[in-house]
């Protein structure tokens, strides 16, 4: 069940918010080992009001990350397991006729939560996928002609298994664009894996974690993150990167203006998470692969094997002003 945050009265002052964010980060770091950079990216995604797509093999902690995020942020959490027979109504909810009252009553679906984990989103049919994706875009759902607002903040973490090919419906580029970031978690290193094996059960640990932030705090953090200073030279840098994706012979379709906006928003949020005085070139580089990776369409004759390599190539060929 939804767990009420015990910290709704947490101070939302600037310093209080700042401290809460640091606490969120350290708590996440203790649960998910050796993934500091990824956690910073996931937090930045959240602070930039974006949805997150985690693409990786099963068993690498995708679900754990989403649950941990919801728990420490004090957000209400729902998980939707996407299957090939999932219907849109299973996501948004249905109107049920109540005989005793003689009227229809809306039964809200799992989408009415603050953090949704859409597990294995590529297993569902495009129809079910689009129901979720519309909710992500509009922050509202329409059922039987009634428009219902989703809770605020609203944050979707979708996971996708790239290895499965049979019986899946990979998200098309246009819909991938709805996700601000795409992350790959990757294997933990030896040391972290050993700690994982010998240490406490992560699920038990997660149950013990208290919320260290609140939805209100998250909203205020989002506002602060958007106001981080970005200097002229770095705007130039973003433009140069975007131009490079459009002009590079290795890339068929480069970043759209929306992609560029996403890059700026994510870089600001990342700078905020990293305590930087303004956006640094490092922030842009840190978020670049996760922002651009799923938005670029590599050329068919490119020698780069993955989107990550391609993004690194773009970064390596643009000078920092």
């Amino acid at each position: 069940m939804q767990r009420q945050s015990t910290l709704e009265t947490l101070p939302v002052g600037k310093d209080g918010a700042r401290e809460a964010l640091d606490r969120v980060r350290t708590t996440l770091d203790t649960i998910i080992l050796g993934k500091n950079a990824r956690i910073a990216l996931a937090l930045a995604c959240m602070l930039a009001r974006g949805h997150l797509l985690i693409e990786d093999l099963p068993g690498l902690g995708k679900t754990m990350l989403a649950q941990a995020l919801a728990r420490v942020m004090g957000l209400s959490f729902r998980r939707i397991q996407f299957t090939s027979d999932l219907l849109p109504a299973d996501i948004v909810g249905v109107s049920v006729f109540r005989q005793e009252k003689g009227e229809f009553e809306f039964q809200p679906g799992p989408v009415f939560a603050q953090l949704i984990l859409a597990d294995e989103v590529n297993r569902a049919t495009p129809k079910a996928q689009s129901a979720l994706l519309e909710a992500m875009e509009e922050y509202q759902v329409s059922v039987d002609g009634n428009t219902r607002l989703l809770p605020e903040p609203f944050f979707v973490v979708a996971t996708q298994n790239p290895a499965d090919q049979i019986g899946t419906f990979p998200l098309p580029e246009s819909q991938l664009d709805r996700f601000l970031m795409r992350l790959e978690l990757g294997y933990p290193n030896e040391e972290n894996e050993r700690e994982l094996l010998t240490g406490e059960d992560r699920r038990v640990m997660l149950d013990d974690v208290d919320a260290v932030a609140s939805p209100e705090l998250l909203l205020s953090l989002q506002k602060t993150a958007a106001s981080i200073h970005m200097s002229e030279p770095l705007i130039d840098y973003v433009q140069a990167l975007v131009r490079q994706t459009r002009e590079s012979p290795d890339i068929d379709i480069g970043l759209s203006p929306r992609g560029a906006l996403a890059l700026v928003a994510a870089a600001k949020a990342h700078a905020f998470v990293e305590h930087h005085a303004g956006v640094y070139p490092d922030d842009i580089q840190a978020v670049f692969a996760s922002i651009a990776g799923h938005r670029l369409k590599p050329a068919s004759n490119t020698t780069y094997r993955s989107a990550a390599e391609l993004c690194q190539h773009v970064l390596d060929s643009v000078a920092i002003p």
Binding site: H229, Q285, I320
Partner: protein, 653 residues
């Protein structure tokens, strides 16, 4: 909840500056303040500094309240009042000292610096001199520097604050000058500075006992300056008449109420050519108005001639005044002496100075007439063993007897006093005139300087055929004193005391130049009143310079100047403060001897440089982090300055 009283040394960077500003603002007050206030000030300053230095706690509120109460009562006990410049500045100084003891934060230091500004400005309430200007500039600069130190970013040097302070003052200077020129001067100001009754008077006092003038003779201070319209009188005619002493108690001469008797034109008859001149009199805090013997007309308001032909203003002269006088060097005072007045002028205490009285009677009997007797007395001073010296031996309870028969050494006041006693003992009405004799022309300024060292006392005797007649017994003893002025003799005295050669002409020249500058400053700057302003406005082309026009002009000028400064600042503001950061960073990159790769962020480059270059790692980190801040952080000059410091540190290495 009681406030925390502990200190953590965080004020150590700014506190010395605040203390220095406070001390500097107190300096001109020290000579006027009672010693205990200065002592309390110094003690509180040192105490506060030690507290900060040793991270001790500030004194408790009870102690502070007690101290404040004690000091207030102390000021009240010293002055018997708390209004006026003296008690006011004393209170201000003591409050600043006590405020130090509760200074915990930046805000408190701002209050202290405000007090410092008040202290500096209150020195102007006393008197303004030429040196007041450089003092003010330095004091304000120091206070501004302290101010900027208080709010300085970490790593900002004192020199930086100092330069910023100087720049701010330079921006403000044109505004201040415009205000000074155009702010309407009113003939009758709405406010006045209350005069301190307890302030020391300067110059000649209104009584004379042995030793008074000798202290003046050593003072090189200017008594007044004179600009002659035409002919300049000979040195022997330069008797600047001040007050007249008529009462003698055997030791001390004093005057009586000057505000009685007929007006000047009924008292004085001038012969021959008159002399016109302008006197700029330094404040004396007394009523006496000096003029060349004998004044005929003058322009100083509320100034009258008393029955003994001395000029006095109804209000003491508490600031520098300037007035024009016409005098007759050759004059007659043709007022009949009443029997009552005659008895007044012949009175001496019969039991005092008996030997002198006996000598006078004996000499008068030997002389054929009053005039012959006067001749004889002067001849006695001239021919017998009487000496003119500025360091006479002390005299006892019958000073005239002792001077006449024992010591025989003295200067004008001894001779004037002895002469007056000799005359009165012989039945001739006599009195003493105090004033100045001499004056030195300043070739630089074209004016005459009369100094306190020119202070002089001479006599007037009543001769029935002539009226009051000036006799200077000092000239019989030391004709040089009268013919050439005291300055040479005085100069010898000073020179021998201080070990200068007698012909330190250069020194003299320098002092004359300084005096000429002072005279011009007094005339043009300090004397810039309603008349000068009106004249200046007309010269500027303003037809009808009333206060409305002046205020309008002033407003226009201020708006114009502010616009001008804004335009200059806008033009000088270069957003590429960032580029400056890039230039500095390029120096650092060059220094590492490495080339950043395309797309390599400064942080990654720093990590590589730490591994590959010879520069110390902490230096690389310092430059990199400050560079990121300065170039990519919010536009902030302080971070750029920190980068400058980091790169400079690297270059020193």
């Amino acid at each position: 909840m009681p406030k925390a009283r502990g200190t953590d040394g965080s004020l150590l960077t700014s506190l010395p500056w605040t203390l220095a500003a406070l001390v500097f603002s107190l300096v001109p007050h020290v000579q006027f303040l009672p010693l205990w206030i200065t002592a309390a000030f110094v003690i509180c300053g040192a105490w506060r500094y030690l507290i900060e230095r040793r991270r001790r706690a500030l004194p408790s509120p009870y102690l502070r309240v007690l101290l404040a109460l004690g000091c207030f009562l102390g000021v009240f006990a010293t002055y018997a009042t708390i209004s006026g410049v003296g008690p006011g500045s004393a209170l201000l100084a003591i409050m600043a000292a006590l405020k130090l003891l509760e200074t915990r934060k930046r805000r408190d230091q701002f209050v202290l610096l405000f007090i410092a500004i008040f202290l500096v400005m209150s020195t102007l309430l006393r008197e303004q001199y030429l040196w007041s200007l450089p003092y003010l500039v330095v004091a304000v600069l120091l206070i501004m520097t302290a101010w900027l130190r208080v709010s300085a970013a970490a790593g900002e040097t004192a020199g930086h604050s100092f330069r910023t302070g100087g720049r701010l003052i330079l921006y403000a200077a044109p505004l201040a000058i415009a205000m000074w020129i155009f702010f309407p001067r009113l003939a009758n100001p709405f406010w006045a500075v209350p005069m301190d009754t307890g302030t020391a008077k300067s110059g000649i006092s209104d009584s004379m006992s042995p030793g008074d003038i000798s202290s003046l003779s050593m003072s090189n201070a200017v008594a007044f300056r004179v600009n002659f319209a035409g002919r300049i009188p000979e040195p022997r005619d330069r008797y600047w008449r001040g007050l007249v002493l008529t009462l003698f108690n055997g030791r001390t001469w004093s005057g009586n109420d000057p505000f009685e008797g007929p007006r000047v034109h009924e008292q004085v008859f001038g012969n021959g050519e008159s002399v016109s001149y302008q006197i700029t009199l330094e404040p004396t805090r007394q009523q006496w108005v000096f003029a060349l013997d004998m004044p005929w007309s003058w322009t100083l308001p509320r100034t009258f001639m008393g029955p003994q032909q001395q000029l006095a203003r109804s209000r003491p002269i508490d600031r520098r005044v300037s007035y024009e006088v016409t005098s007759y060097l050759d004059y007659r005072t043709d007022v009949a002496l009443t029997d009552y007045a005659r008895s007044w002028y012949e009175r001496i205490p019969p039991e005092s100075n008996k030997r002198t009285q006996a000598l006078a009677k004996q000499m008068r009997a030997a002389a054929s007439s009053d005039a012959a007797y006067i001749e004889a007395v002067l001849r006695m001073f001239h021919e017998q063993e009487y000496f003119y010296t500025l360091q006479p031996p002390p005299l006892g309870s019958s000073p005239v007897d002792r001077f006449m028969f024992d010591t025989r050494r003295g200067f004008c006041e001894h001779y004037a006093s002895a002469f007056a006693v000799m005359m009165r003992a012989a039945g001739i009405p006599a009195r003493i005139v105090l004033g100045y004799q001499g004056g030195e022309m300043n070739p630089m300024g074209g004016h005459m300087i009369v100094r306190q060292s020119d202070a002089h006392a001479w006599n007037e005797v009543w001769l029935d055929s002539v009226g009051w007649y000036r006799v200077d017994p000092t000239s019989a003893v030391a004709p040089g004193r009268i013919e050439s002025g005291v300055s040479e003799s005085m100069f010898d005295g000073v020179a021998s005391t201080w070990g200068f050669s007698a012909t330190s002409a250069l020194l003299h020249r320098l002092s004359l130049t300084w005096d000429a500058m002072n005279a011009k400053w007094n005339e043009w700057v300090l004397g810039y009143g309603p008349e000068n302003q009106s004249r200046f406005m007309k010269w500027l082309g303003m037809d009808n310079p009333d206060w409305r026009n002046m205020l309008l002009t002033l407003t226009a000028i201020i708006v114009g100047l502010i616009l001008l400064i804004s335009v200059i600042l806008t033009l000088r503001y270069r957003p590429p403060a960032k580029d400056r950061a890039a230039i500095l960073y390029a120096r650092f990159v060059k220094r590492t001897g490495m080339e950043p790769l395309t797309g390599e962020t400064p942080a990654i480059f720093a990590a590589r440089a730490e591994a590959e270059s010879q520069l110390p790692a902490e230096m690389i980190r310092a430059v990199t982090s400050t560079y990121l801040d300065a170039r990519y952080g919010p536009c902030d000059l302080a971070s750029l300055h920190r980068l400058e410091l980091a790169v400079a540190a690297m270059h020193r290495q």
